[in-house]
């Protein structure tokens, strides 16, 4: 994974080509100034234990450092910890040290006890969104002023990657004690910027934190995050200079931005995927045991395979996303540093003749009616229309039902659907892209997919320490997922970030976050 650093590069072609990447701009910057970053949604709670959204993670990247971080190559590197954790031979004891002399934004000191408090809170707080990923954690203790020992119920290899996300954020125990559940309105962590204020739906303001250990390398005085859901409005504001950075720009807006000499583009491959979920056994709702569903799609895997074969991933990328995303046919990105997935070039090609043969062999009366729920974004509507047209040629009559987000969640989780557009922003460790979706009891297995071998492989993947063996396990899991055709992986988004040309030092990595620590206005 290469990063193209640019002196004064504008919207470079490498950034818009499939496979081209541009994650940083290393021009020297001057001190001072305010950077306004437009997000595509209003973040939820600013509490690392409760937060759920990708945009929220972007705000945390400005104010809450983690025990570990991801570098531009997608590798886990220490951040608040001094080095990668040491794991015992049986994988059940993990130890690490935290850096000395660090201070939270409220002025109190970070030590091992603070790490223990935070990890236990992430695991135990009612409603914690971190509870599942930290469930294997049996005990946490401070073995010294700066050393922490974790005892696990079983070997859990994804732990380091988990600690490179919100579970690894350390909160000020003093602030937790003072504010309790209201910590969300007074978040205090170790980070380049500290929380100043939040006006719901309008802005979140951070200011340079003088207590930050690396404050000399922080150049901006302030960072303001503004939710602007509409892509064209975000672009207009970039053009007018009212905002300096536009996060999560859609391909169509990036293409428009290409004409603007005052703007520059950053991009990185994403760790997630987008696809079409099919209901193969969700009869009683999420969390319940999958059952038998009396639809052609659920009954016969050949029908699902036919549906997948009717789709042309390359054409979808070209028509719907201006060729700026990548075709995908597996849960794990080929760019992943841990057990990379299937390359886009290896995805199965469209084969209408075979699809028709499969439908005939399955004894299905055509045209076979399928309702596809799509989200209400223009891109998803176009995706639905293209899939509808393609599937028609193979013998499917796809009807589209644009469904608003909250309703979609309820209907798909309860099993009231045939097919829906299903996506995931992605996690560093492949386990985070697979387990919740394909494990029989997975928290997001809305497909009702259940396969003993898959369940066993997922467990093995979590406990296998040898990277080569793990890669094999996730390769096998990908193969099994593709053979089941319950979740058809279609494309992988890229993280497109447009910024003013006078802004340098922002970092856009594969985790999709905009890092502003080193950002500033070019000298």
């Amino acid at each position: 994974m290469l990063s193209t650093t640019a002196g004064c590069g504008s919207l470079q072609s490498s950034a818009t080509e499939v496979g081209g990447e541009r994650m940083t701009d290393d021009r020297p910057v001057r001190d001072g100034g305010t950077l306004t970053v437009a997000l595509n949604a209003d973040p939820d709670k600013l509490d690392p234990s409760l937060a759920q959204t990708l945009v929220g993670r972007t705000v945390f990247a400005g104010m809450c450092e983690k025990l570990y971080d991801v570098d531009e190559a997608g590798k886990v590197v220490p951040q608040l910890a001094t080095a990668l954790p040491k794991t015992s031979p049986d994988g059940r004891t993990v130890t690490f040290s935290v850096r000395k002399g660090l201070k939270f934004s409220d002025g109190t000191s970070l030590d091992a006890a603070a790490v223990v408090t935070s990890l236990l809170r992430h695991r135990d707080l009612p409603g914690s969104a971190r509870a599942t990923e930290l469930a294997p954690l049996k005990a946490v203790e401070a073995t010294g002023a700066n050393t922490v020992k974790l005892t696990l119920k079983q070997a859990y290899v994804p732990l380091t990657a988990v600690l490179a996300d919100r579970s690894g954020m350390v909160m000020s125990p003093a602030a937790l004690k003072k504010y309790g559940k209201n910590f969300t309105n007074h978040p205090s962590c170790v980070g380049p910027f500290k929380f100043v204020e939040r006006v719901g739906g309008d802005r979140i303001v951070l200011a340079k934190d003088p207590n930050y250990y690396d404050a000399r390398d922080v150049h901006l005085d302030k960072v303001i995050y503004k939710p602007i859901p509409d892509g064209s409005v975000r672009l207009a504001n970039l053009r007018s200079g009212d905002i300096q950075v536009g996060d999560q720009m859609a391909p169509v807006d990036v293409k428009s931005a290409l004409t603007e000499p005052k703007l520059q583009l950053f991009n990185s491959p994403s760790l997630g995927y987008q696809g079409i979920g099919l209901n193969v056994g969700n009869v009683k709702g999420l969390g319940e045991k999958p059952g038998k569903l009396d639809t052609a799609l659920a009954r016969d895997v050949r029908v699902r395979e036919a549906f997948e074969l009717s789709i042309d991933r390359d054409l979808i990328n070209k028509v719907v996303f201006q060729g700026m995303y990548e075709p995908a046919c597996g849960p794990v990105s080929p760019e992943s540093a841990i057990a990379p997935g299937v390359a886009a070039s290896a995805c199965p090609k469209r084969d209408v003749a075979k699809a028709k043969r499969l439908l005939k062999a399955a004894g299905v009366k055509t045209p076979l009616k399928i309702e596809l729920k799509t989200s209400t974004t223009p891109e998803n509507s176009r995706l639905g229309q293209v899939v509808q047209a393609m599937a028609k040629e193979a013998g499917f009559a796809v009807s589209l039902r644009p469904t608003e987000y909250a309703t979609m969640l309820e209907e798909t989780d309860s099993g009231h659907y045939d097919a829906f557009t299903s996506g995931w922003s992605g996690r560093l460790d492949p386990d985070g892209n697979i387990a919740s979706f394909l494990q029989t009891k997975g928290a997001m297995n809305a497909y009702g997919f259940s396969d003993d071998e898959t369940d066993a492989l997922i467990e093995r993947g979590r406990t296998e320490a040898d990277p080569a063996e793990r890669a094999k396990i996730y390769g096998e899991l990908t193969r099994r997922a593709n053979d089941a055709h319950a979740l058809i992986y279609v494309y992988r988004q890229k993280n497109y970030v447009v910024a003013g040309k006078d802004v340098a030092g922002i970092r856009v990595y594969g985790d999709g976050l905009v890092r502003v620590k080193a950002a500033g206005y070019a000298k």
């Binding site: 009612p126 209201n182 969300t184 719901g200 503004k226 009212d242 909250a406 309820e410």
Partner: protein, 317 residues
């Protein structure tokens, strides 16, 4: 008089109570589980159960309503399930934005609409009338979103006179405030200006052909006195009535305008709350709006009764 006012207050309280029930039940009738919307990407059964417990979503709807109304009576509208911010704070921050936007749009609509209406009536059959009519047609037909984007492209990007987005309170920086509010006010006010223009023109045409105008002319009054002092004054009664009726549209129309110009007003707050099934915020917003409507009605009725005592007879026995 006091008895009449008391009766009207009592009726208003009952209305507000009924509205609160309708609002509460209506919001819960929306499809989509708020716990799911809140849990978002990472929903596990345990997390969902905890969310439901925290916001009392598992309780009987009557108990939920009782809790809501009990808190509301003490001025506590709850906290946003999404952001954790107090709903009353969110409303307090959003209300001035929407009120200023509505006021500026109204001002624009009155000035432009009445001005163009007078010109169209006085210059009947001439190019000025065609232009005014054409502009009114445009004002009524152009989609808000499109007009907003065109204005941003023209006046915030090509010729950067105004800002493309954001809100700065008038008290903090009056100039910056206007720089940010003029374009949204034009977008929101243009439709209303068109309606006002058409009403003014029609009313003025009626007035200009009326006997009292002919008499005024015969008395030798100047053109300005005839149009401004006689025709316009009489025409304004109809125009003001229409303006009153359009006020509600102004508030609802603010929803789109606030999205285009990223104004943190009531419209944006409501939309965000609907999409995230943020019950507390949605209840608070709708209840406050209803209370405002009821209060205005109450004040208007009381004012009428002061002006015309006969009106009281219907209410006070």
């Amino acid at each position: 008089m006091a008895a009449y006012v008391l009766t009207r207050v009592r009726q208003s309280v009952i209305t507000l109570f009924l509205v609160s029930i309708v609002v509460f039940a209506g919001i819960r009738a929306l499809p989509g589980d708020p716990a799911l919307a809140l849990a978002g990407e990472e929903r596990s059964p345990a997390a969902l159960a905890a969310i439901r417990a925290e916001y009392g979503l598992d309780d009987n709807i009557v108990i939920q309503y009782g809790r809501f109304i009990g808190h509301a009576l003490t001025g506590d509208l709850g906290t946003s399930s999404r952001t954790g911010l107090p709903v009353s704070d969110a409303i307090g921050q959003a209300l001035p934005v929407t009120l200023e936007l509505a006021a500026l749009s109204l001002l624009l609509a009155v000035v432009l609409g009445i001005g163009a209406g007078i010109v169209a009536a006085v210059r009947r059959g001439r190019p000025a009338e065609w232009i005014a009519n054409g502009l009114a047609l445009l004002g009524l037909s152009v989609p808000t979103f499109w007009l907003g984007m065109v204005l941003v492209l023209a006046f915030a990007i090509a010729v950067p006179v105004f800002a493309a987005s954001g809100y700065v309170p008038f008290g903090t920086d009056p100039l910056d405030n206007l720089r940010r509010m003029v374009l949204p006010a034009i977008v929101l006010g243009s439709g209303l200006a068109a309606v006002v223009m058409r009403q003014t023109r029609a009313a003025m045409l009626d007035s200009l052909s009326a006997d009292y105008v002919r008499t005024a002319r015969a008395k030798g009054l100047t053109r300005r006195e005839v149009i401004g002092g006689h025709a316009l004054r009489n025409s304004l009664v109809t125009v003001v009535t229409v303006l009153g009726l359009q006020l509600g549209h102004l508030i609802s129309g603010a929803v789109v305008t606030e999205q285009i110009f990223v104004l943190p007003g009531f419209g944006k707050l409501t939309i965000d709350a609907v999409f995230t099934r943020d019950y507390a915020t949605l209840q608070g917003v709708v209840l406050c709006t209803s209370a405002a409507y009821i209060l205005i009605n109450l004040l208007v009725d009381v004012a009428y009764s002061v002006i015309d005592p006969r009106i009281r007879l219907g209410g006070a026995k």
